[in-house]
Amino acid sequence: MASIDDIVQDYGIVLRAFLLTIELFLVAGLASLVLGVLLAAARVGPIPVLAKAGTVYVAIFRNTPLLVVFIFVFIAMPRLGVNYPFFAKGCIALTVYTAAFVCEAFRSGINSVSLGQAEASRAVGLTFGQSMQHVVLPQALRAVVPPLASVMIALVKNTSIAAAFGLAEATSRMRFFTNNNADDRMLIFLTFAIGYVIIVELVSLGSHGLERRWRVAR
C-alpha cells in the first residue's frame, strides 16, 4: 500500500535510477556527437569512399528501430562472442543509433553555409580540414543547435529502452514500483514522468542558452 511512502522511503533508489538515466544520456550523447560529427564530415567531404560509407551508415542506423539495435547489441552480439559490460553495451546501442541523427543534423547545418564560403576558403589555400574547422563548422554550429537539441531530447527518452536490457535506470525502477504497488500506479507514473520532464527541460534550456550566446549578425 501507500506507494508514495515507498517512493519517499526509497528516495535513494529513485535518485540512483535517474542518475543512471543521466549517465547513459551523457556518455551516449558525447560519444554520438563525436561519431556524428565525423560521419557528417565524411559525408560532405571530398573522399568518395568515406562519403559513401557515411551514407550507408546513416541509411542503416537511422532506418533501424532502436529496439532492434538493442536486441542486436545485447542478444545477438554476445552469441557471436562480442560481449561488454552492461553499461557499455547500453551506451554502444544508444550511440550508434543517435550518431546517425547527429550526422544528419550537422550535415544540414553544413549545407546551410553557402558553398561560396567553402570555395573562398579553399581559394585562399586552406585545406579541407582547415576550411571546415575555421570557416564552415563555426557557422554551421549555430544553425545546428535547434535540431541537435531535438536529437538530444529524443536520446534522453530513448535511454528508457535500456530498462528491458538489464540496466536499472528510471523506467526500469518505475516498473518495479508499479508491479509492487498496483494500487497506486498513477502517482508512480507521474513521479517518474516529472523526472524525465526535468531532464528534458534542462537540455532544452541549455540549447536556448547556446542559441543566444552564439547568435551573431549575419
Binding site: P78, N83, A164, G166, F176, N179, A182, D183
Partner: protein, 297 residues
C-alpha cells in the same frame, strides 16, 4: 535499374526476416495436458446476474495467461493454444462453467499488465503465475492459492553458485520490475532486468549473467528444456502463492473459483494437471495449498 536493385534488397531482407521468425518457433513439444471435465448445462447452476452465469450462457470466456513460461503458461509462435499448469487450471475453471477448452480465448498477460487487463475488462480471469499480495488485492480480486512455490536460482551446470549466498557481487537476471529482482538485489547481487524470462535464460546460456532467479516452478520448466546445460540450485528463499485474478466488480467469482479449485484437489484433476505440466521436470507432485477465505461481500 536502381528501382530493381532496391526491390531485390527489400525482398531479400523480407526473406531473411521470415526465416528468422521460423527459426525461433517450434522448439517445444509438450502440448496436450490432462483431460478436463466439461460440465453440461452448467448455466442452470448459477444465479442470475452473476458473472459465472454470463460466461456459461455465452459459452465463452477470456483468460489471461503467460506465454513465455514453459511448464506454467507457454505458447510457441506456431502453437494454437498455450500449455502449462496455469493453462490447465484455467481449463478446469472454464470446464466447471460448461465451456470447452476451444471456447476459451487466451490472451497473453505479462507481469505489468495483469491488473490493468482485469480492471479494464480485457480479460475475465488471470491465471498467470500471479503471486497473491495485499497491494494487488487492493485493486483486483485474487482467489486461491492453487500452487505455492519459492524463488530459486538457475545456473549453468557446474557453476560456482550453489546457494543463494553465492550470488553476492554477481550479476543475476530476471524480469524487469519483478519482486524476484528486488530479492536478489537485497542479497547483494547486481540485478539485471529483461522483458521476458526467455531473454533472461539466454543471458545465462551465453554467459553474460551468472544466474537467473525467479519462482522455482518457472526455473524447473527452463531446466527441463535444457537439462544438459542448466540446473536449478539452492533452497527457495521466498514464498510465492499463485492466485487467480478476477475483477472486483464481480466479487461473487471468488467463492466459485475457490470451490472449483478445492474440487480439483479432491477429484485428482489438480494432480493430473501438475503431472502433465510441471511434474515433467521430475519433481514430485506437492500437497496442494488450501485456498484463502474469500473477503466478506
Amino acid at each position: 535499374m536502381n528501382l530493381n536493385r532496391t526491390r531485390i534488397a527489400v525482398v531479400s531482407v523480407a526473406a531473411a526476416l521470415a526465416l528468422t521468425a521460423c527459426g525461433s518457433a517450434g522448439d517445444d513439444d509438450e502440448g496436450g495436458g490432462a483431460d478436463v471435465d466439461v460440465k453440461e448445462d452448467a448455466a442452470a447452476e448459477f444465479d442470475d446476474g452473476t458473472a459465472m452465469k454470463e460466461f456459461a450462457e455465452a459459452g465463452a470466456i477470456t483468460i489471461g495467461v503467460k506465454f513465455d513460461q514453459p511448464g506454467i503458461g507457454f505458447k510457441g509462435a506456431t502453437d494454437d493454444a498455450p500449455t502449462g499448469m496455469d493453462v490447465e487450471m484455467a481449463k478446469i475453471l472454464a470446464g466447471s462453467l460448461g465451456i470447452e477448452p476451444d471456447g476459451i480465448e487466451w490472451k497473453e498477460t505479462i507481469s505489468d499488465n495483469r491488473e490493468p487487463f482485469l480492471e479494464g475488462g480485457e480479460v475475465d480471469l488471470v491465471v498467470a503465475s500471479y503471486s497473491i499480495t495485499d497491494e494487488r488485492r487492493a485493486v483486483v480480486g485474487q482467489a486461491g492459492p492453487y500452487y505455492v512455490t519459492g524463488q530459486q536460482l538457475l545456473v549453468k551446470t557446474g557453476s560456482d553458485i550453489q546457494t543463494v549466498e553465492d550470488i553476492e557481487g554477481k550479476e543475476v537476471c530476471s524480469v524487469t520490475g519483478s519482486t524476484s529482482l528486488e530479492n536478489v538485489e537485497a542479497k547483494g547481487a547486481t540485478a539485471r532486468g529483461f522483458d521476458t524470462y526467455s531473454e533472461c535464460r539466454d543471458q545465462v546460456l551465453d554467459g553474460t549473467v551468472e544466474a537467473m532467479s525467479t519462482d522455482g516452478s518457472i526455473l524447473l520448466g527452463y531446466a527441463a528444456e535444457n537439462p544438459d546445460e542448466v540446473e536449478v540450485v539452492g533452497e527457495p528463499f521466498s514464498e510465492e502463492r499463485y492466485g487467480i485474478g478476477y475483477s472486483l466488480e464481480s466479487p461473487e467469482m471468488c467463492e466459485w473459483i475457490n470451490e472449483t479449485v478445492q474440487k480439483s484437489y479432491d477429484d485428482g484433476t489438480w494432480a493430473d494437471a501438475f503431472e502433465a505440466t510441471l511434474g515433467k521436470s521430475g519433481v514430485e507432485t506437492p500437497e496442494p495449498p488450501a485456498p484463502d477465505a474469500c473477503p466478506a461481500a
